[in-house]
Point group: C2
Amino acid sequence: MEVDIGNALGSVATPGVSRGSLERLDERVADAHERIEAGIGDREHGYAALALPETADPDAIRAAVDPIDCDTLLVVGIGGSALGAATIADALDLDIDVHTLDNVDPDHTRTLLDSLDLSRTALHVVSRSGTTAETLANFLVAREAMESAGVDWTERTLVTTGEEGNLRGLAERHDLPALDVPAGVPGRFSALSTVALPVAALGGGDVEGLLAGAGAEAEGLTGSLFESPAYAYGATTYALAQRGWRVNAMMPYAESLETFAEWFAQLWAESLGKEGVGQLPARALGATDQHSQLQLYRAGPRDAMVSLVRPRERGDVSIPETDLEGLSYLGGSSLGELLDAEFEATEASLAAAGRPNVRVEIDRVDAHELGGLLYGMEAACVLAGELYLVPTFTQPAVEWGKRAARGLLGGGEFEEAAAVEEKERLVVD
Amino acid sequence: MEVDIGNALGSVATPGVSRGSLERLDERVADAHERIEAGIGDREHGYAALALPETADPDAIRAAVDPIDCDTLLVVGIGGSALGAATIADALDLDIDVHTLDNVDPDHTRTLLDSLDLSRTALHVVSRSGTTAETLANFLVAREAMESAGVDWTERTLVTTGEEGNLRGLAERHDLPALDVPAGVPGRFSALSTVALPVAALGGGDVEGLLAGAGAEAEGLTGSLFESPAYAYGATTYALAQRGWRVNAMMPYAESLETFAEWFAQLWAESLGKEGVGQLPARALGATDQHSQLQLYRAGPRDAMVSLVRPRERGDVSIPETDLEGLSYLGGSSLGELLDAEFEATEASLAAAGRPNVRVEIDRVDAHELGGLLYGMEAACVLAGELYLVPTFTQPAVEWGKRAARGLLGGGEFEEAAAVEEKERLVVD
């Protein structure tokens, strides 16, 4: 990926980052890079994710999916166990349909299961612990649906899980293909692993290309933000957040990258949002959200920077000539030219209002470039975590609610469940 | 809808809103209500949207769609011309498939058009001016695709537009069914009008129910936030924003309301985000985003309040009994019970961390309740606009970019297009 931080500079944004500040920040980047390199080398928890271009094993993934014959894949997971697969499926042109069960909305689960030909559907159940409530509940429901339809679920279920636990035991009992969640790789950093790559392998996607693209991005990680696109992104967004730009609107100009923005939102929020710091990721889509969010980004509170992402090449569609009044300028042009004009116009519009924005470009939306984009954003996030001085790879604030929910459902005694009962109320109806 | 602002109070949130402050704010609400009532009565620009439960004409909408026979509806519009229809289509159980062309991504437009049986597809083209570049470009492309497929587009195209302009002229020349965009109703406030109700009418949805639900919400607008759920929402979110909670994460616990959160995001951002004020709407989805955004909402910067929306009733799916270790508490429960437990746990988890949140409940996701929810949020937004002292019904910051894009495409001389060429660059690759 290529990153252009020109519109984050103090000559454009108010407040922006001066070149002098960037140079001083680059010293911290160099220190952080040493820490990151060491962590990668030692396969330390979290940092190990940045070693995946080397450590992931495409052959093992292909071998695991090989026995499975399907037209549709249903990924059963939540958070990092679903978003990587969904991102890859929506970006690449796979030859299977892919759906995710990453919520426990009964209407949705029922409607989705009813709509599928289960005899041609595979399940990929993903949970490191094997006890994630949402994932296991959905698996139990999906398995029962297959049984009711007379489909042998053991022939079409793949599992990615830890070395021990429920799902591991299940796989052993039923001789299911099972992949290991790689050691030291948190869910939100697992897109380039056994967690999300099976969707590409099953769908005829270029698994090696994804890893090669990630590897090329890894090669580019030097100790300077002026040389490493990933670090340029991580350091600049950090510097902007310090200057009050505490929202980061991730706005790809490609429908196929809409889910990438969701994946990014988890990566950014859960890794950096702790101890009172971090940057809130807002998910947007160009050009659509120019008619929705742009008014606020340009003229609302001075707290939202915008990340504009685009592929340099894409397919195109000509706009037919027309005699409709005032529209002749469109005829003979193309949807792609219109989209590019809107991208540049939005970028300039934000800059003209002194609102910082960062341009991220990839050559095209294919496996190689997507791999690079995912890896680059992960490296950017790890760098940002070093700069913010937060524990990037934990998510402690999620645990309280999990205990409360479990207690409410009778899964044990938890004081958090009692707190739910004491809710303060001021009801207006 | 019912609104519970208990968790926004100072006894829970830090900082929160004291009851005394709410009482003083209620005096401003009373004044704003008088202004709003007058605006509705006089059908003033913008305020006229809140008269739609009375002024919309379901029979005219039914008559317009009556000649059209289709299995699939393709809504061609952008921003407020698409989001209302998409929200209704995703929330209600319609008997047609609905897609939107609300972007100009060529790959997406081509893939979508190629996937449809155009001989069974209707177009609903929506643009007040008849010159919206994205909408007209997509219409020209879709029309050509129909012609290439030997399909008579004039038999299956419905138009909603202003009294004059391109689309009006087109409708007259080809004798297309055409509906008027109601006077004084901005796009983002047009869900309950000829802009979005045709999708319900075509799909066998309960148009009258949508309007009746909105009407019931309108009846409930009194001069006090303690009596009007819509005003409780608008006033409380305003008071929270004044106290630093400048992000409003809209988090419905229902997949069918995911698009509602997008609709809300446009309403909130474009109406209130101006003159340096407003509140950034972040789109979230429960329970999924508990595994993505919740860490940041609970432990990141103290600037994000959360709006938790749920239907009180829904269909349900039992979770099969299981002998999987540690999961027996799930067996015999249901997905709906799990989802409700997670809703309450998330709410309590945020409260325990002093993070304000507001609960919005509707009886169920049906036409009546959806109509009430849409109307309620519109009224909340209009009230908030009065409190922020902003021009709620304009979107001036969007115009700069439109001129720049038009200039870039050769649609006239605009100085904004020249500014695009002068972009500051600092490229890292």
